[in-house]
């Protein structure tokens, strides 16, 4: 609890670098650096039970070191340095990566730089983990570093990067939080959605105009929000699953807190109301972790807020007035009780849930704004599913094609029963 309160207090303060430098042990460094380095994720880790916190802390601080090498190392050597740092942190190599000779511009970079300077201490946190956890963390770090290096070599799409880096970290977190259950189902696609959503949030926070080839903040918000629909759908699916498969109440609280704060960030960016007021975010997370019903309520509320955020963004003032027949709930699936680890299944189901609400009658005049929006969102969901099929993956293409065809010819499919 003390850890949590300290973390919350630190959240909105600039990091105290001198205190971090003065930390005498790896554990002390971890305690002081976690929230400055990982912000809300750091607070969430503070909510975990002790046995989970050590691995989560080691993993997150190690990732910050990799981030430092990715962003602050001299460009021509950065890829190799990231790989070397991962190998060193994982204990598969005793050769330290080259020291960083960089000046941090942002507070977060200053913390990352300091952690990179103290890479030996961060490595000690990983080394102190039991063998299974240590190897698991090492595999995650290697995977993350490999994607970072590829991105440095030739920029990946934000989708590929988000899934490859933060998606991998999310998958590691799922295995950590719901170990036995997570071993029985492939959560990679849904974890990738969380990773991509988080990457979109990071890019919005950091004003990454170049990555989206946009001219200003307004265009960046547009580019990000229009990409959010499918990853939000997958993220809500994973959130729902984690609620019923995470044994620790503290871990459920941590997950809920992260979900609530991340959705609030997107809502704020689009001037939409957040699912919970800022002062109640932690309380709402604690409450949601108490029971399955409360968890479901939280997931629905986040889904609804995200829906509203997307619609608020798409609305012009003229259209808002004419949206008399209601906002189409693109993410309504999250309330329907249907779950699948397959993003294609989720997107196709949701696509046809939207289609089912279109009028059956022949078109005689322009449709209402809400119906037009339904059709556009259905298209966007369906085509977004293709983004995740590599161009050479003919089996994946065929599988998705069959899903489309089957769902199209099943006018009375399960989607009809969606609320």
């Amino acid at each position: 609890m003390i850890f949590l309160l300290c973390g919350l207090a630190q959240l909105h303060r600039p990091p105290t670098l001198s205190a971090l430098r003065a930390a005498r042990t790896p554990e002390q460094l971890a305690q002081l650096a976690l929230v400055p380095a990982a912000r809300n994720l750091g607070v969430a880790i503070g909510l975990l039970p002790t046995r989970l916190r050590a691995e989560a802390t080691a993993a997150v601080l190690s990732c910050r070191v990799l981030d430092a090498y990715e962003n602050l190392a001299e460009w021509t050597v950065a890829g190799g340095a990231v790989i070397a740092a991962a190998d060193y942190l994982a204990g598969t190599s005793d050769v330290m990566p080259p020291p960083l000779d960089a000046i941090a511009v942002r507070d977060s970079e200053a913390v990352d730089l300091l952690l990179a300077e103290r890479i030996c201490d961060v490595r000690a946190l990983v080394s102190a983990l039991p063998a299974v956890e240590r190897e698991r963390t090492g595999r995650m770090l290697s995977g993350v570093a490999e994607v970072m290096a590829r991105n440095l070599d030739s920029p990946l799409s934000r989708l590929a990067y988000g899934e490859g880096v933060l998606g991998r970290v999310t998958l590691h977190a799922c295995v950590l939080l719901a170990a036995d259950a997570a071993a029985k189902v492939d959560l990679a696609e849904l974890a990738g959605c969380v990773g991509y959503s988080a990457q979109l949030a990071n890019d919005l926070r950091d004003d990454e105009l170049a990555s989206y080839d946009v001219a200003d903040r307004e265009e960046l918000v547009s580019a990000v929000v229009l990409r959010l629909l499918t990853p939000a759908l997958g993220s809500l699916a994973l959130l729902r699953w984690l609620g019923s498969h995470t044994a620790s109440r503290g871990a459920r609280t941590a997950i809920a807190y992260l979900a609530i704060t991340t959705s609030a960030f997107f809502c704020t960016a689009t001037d939409a109301p957040a699912p919970y007021r800022k002062w109640w975010q932690l309380g709402a997370a604690v409450l949601a972790a108490q029971s399955a019903d409360r968890w479901t309520t939280m997931v629905s509320r986040i889904g609804h807020s995200t829906d509203v955020a997307i619609h608020e963004f798409l609305n012009t003032s003229a259209q808002v007035d004419s949206m008399a027949d209601g906002v189409p709930a693109a993410l309504r699936w999250s309330e329907a009780g249907i779950w699948s680890p397959s993003l294609h299944e989720l997107t196709v189901e949701t696509t046809f849930a939207l289609v089912h609400e279109l009028p059956e009658e022949p078109l005689t005049e322009e449709l209402s704004v809400a119906h037009v929006r339904r059709m556009m969102l259905a298209d966007h969901l369906a085509f977004s599913a293709l983004e995740r099929v590599p161009a050479c993956d003919t089996d994946g293409m065929r599988s998705l094609a069959r899903r489309f065809m089957l769902a199209s010819t099943s006018n009375n499919s399960s989607s009809k029963g969606h609320p």
Binding site: S154, L358, L363, P390, A391, A401, F404
Partner: protein
């Protein structure tokens, strides 16, 4: 590929400034232009039976697709696919049946997007006939569109799987887009609904973004799959992406001009975009040229007919044509690295025809 000698020669329509610009780009190969136009332009005859075989199966969409196939479009995307596959005559490439398959798949994706466009735009007519949603109902049209996209995807998968050597590079060439970029189509649709700031630079940028997404996506796909099938190397594929984007701009601007001008060949009601207050290129030119235009455009109850009259009087349509001609010339320039084959001539001719509609 269809034998050129059996094709019906088509007359190339070149006029005005387009003629001047294209004369420079054409190497003076007039006869070749006619042959090339006939050769690749008739791809519709090749793909029609294959599309019919794939779509006219006994299911609830049979009548819908019969209606769609009854009045085929210009098959621009099929022509692009086919010509890009023939750009380097000497290179090893996928069999012609595969190229036809690719062309079919791209056209089916296009037809699918048109059905859904008609729902979103409330279009009652398409190619002079009732649109699919107007004839068969909105929901059935939406489902038929998705089924069509599924058939296209399945066909594309079959073609790619059949020629792993030809398509091994799919998705691996930087700056070249394939199927995983298809969501830009719907991205463009949504983006188009977002209001851009009413200043010239923002409107022009917004327009280009929407065109690159809505029109350019399938043009790029046609060029990337066709070019890959034809053994075009990485730089050549990137040149084809530039060609596709310029062509898309010229194509869309001229579509907008036609929507403003109307006429019997339009195949749908004129002025639809003006009705919906979409800032098309002619509108942007009008807003830039006439200080009074801004208040007319922003006043919700200004009759569309009044806007149409003022827009035509301002010379915005001519300015738009000029922009389309410039884009067509840029598209031709993007092809300069390719040898002077009939396929290249066809692609250049296509840019000319698009800008002279």
């Amino acid at each position: 590929m269809r034998d050129v000698s059996t094709s019906t020669p088509q007359r190339l329509v070149v006029r005005g400034r387009i003629d001047d610009q294209m004369h420079r780009a054409d190497d003076g190969a007039g006869i070749e232009v006619v042959q090339a136009t006939a050769c690749f332009g008739d791809i519709g005859e090749l793909i029609h039976p294959r599309m019919a075989a794939a779509l006219l199966v006994p299911n609830e969409f049979n009548a819908v697709y019969r209606h769609v196939l009854a009045v085929p479009g210009k098959r621009v995307r099929a022509g692009l696919t086919s010509a890009c596959a023939e750009l380097l005559a000497s290179r090893a490439r996928a069999p012609s049946t595969d190229v036809t398959g690719l062309a079919c798949a791209i056209e089916m994706l296009h037809e699918s997007s048109l059905i859904h466009d008609d729902i979103c735009d409330g279009s009652l007519l398409r190619r002079g006939l009732p649109s699919v949603p107007a004839m068969f109902g909105v929901r059935l049209a939406a489902r038929a569109g998705f089924y069509l996209a599924g058939v296209a995807l399945d066909l594309l998968a079959c073609v790619v799987a059949d020629s792993p050597e030809a398509f091994g590079r799919l998705g691996k060439v930087r700056g070249v887009t394939y199927l995983d970029d298809l969501s830009r189509l719907s991205f463009g649709q949504l983006k188009e609904t977002l209001p851009a700031a009413c200043n010239d630079a923002a409107l022009r940028r917004h327009y280009r973004l929407v065109v690159e997404a809505k029109t350019g996506t399938l043009f790029r796909l046609a060029c990337s799959y066709g070019g890959t099938a034809g053994g075009v190397e990485d730089d050549g594929l990137r040149a084809l992406m530039r060609y596709a984007d310029h062509l898309a701009f010229a194509f869309q601007v001229m579509d907008d001009v036609r929507d403003v001008e109307g006429g019997s060949t339009l195949g749908k009601e004129a002025g639809g975009d003006l009705d919906r207050r979409i800032p098309t290129w002619p509108v942007i030119e009008w807003l830039a040229s006439d200080p009074v235009s801004r208040s007319m455009w922003l006043t919700a109850d200004t009759p569309t007919a009044a806007i149409q009259v003022e827009l035509m009087r301002s010379g915005a349509a001519e300015a738009s044509r000029s922009a389309a001609v410039g884009a067509a010339a840029a598209a031709c320039e993007a092809l300069e690295s390719f040898p002077g084959t009939a396929a290249r001539t066809y692609l250049r001719d296509l840019a000319v025809r698009v800008a002279s509609r």
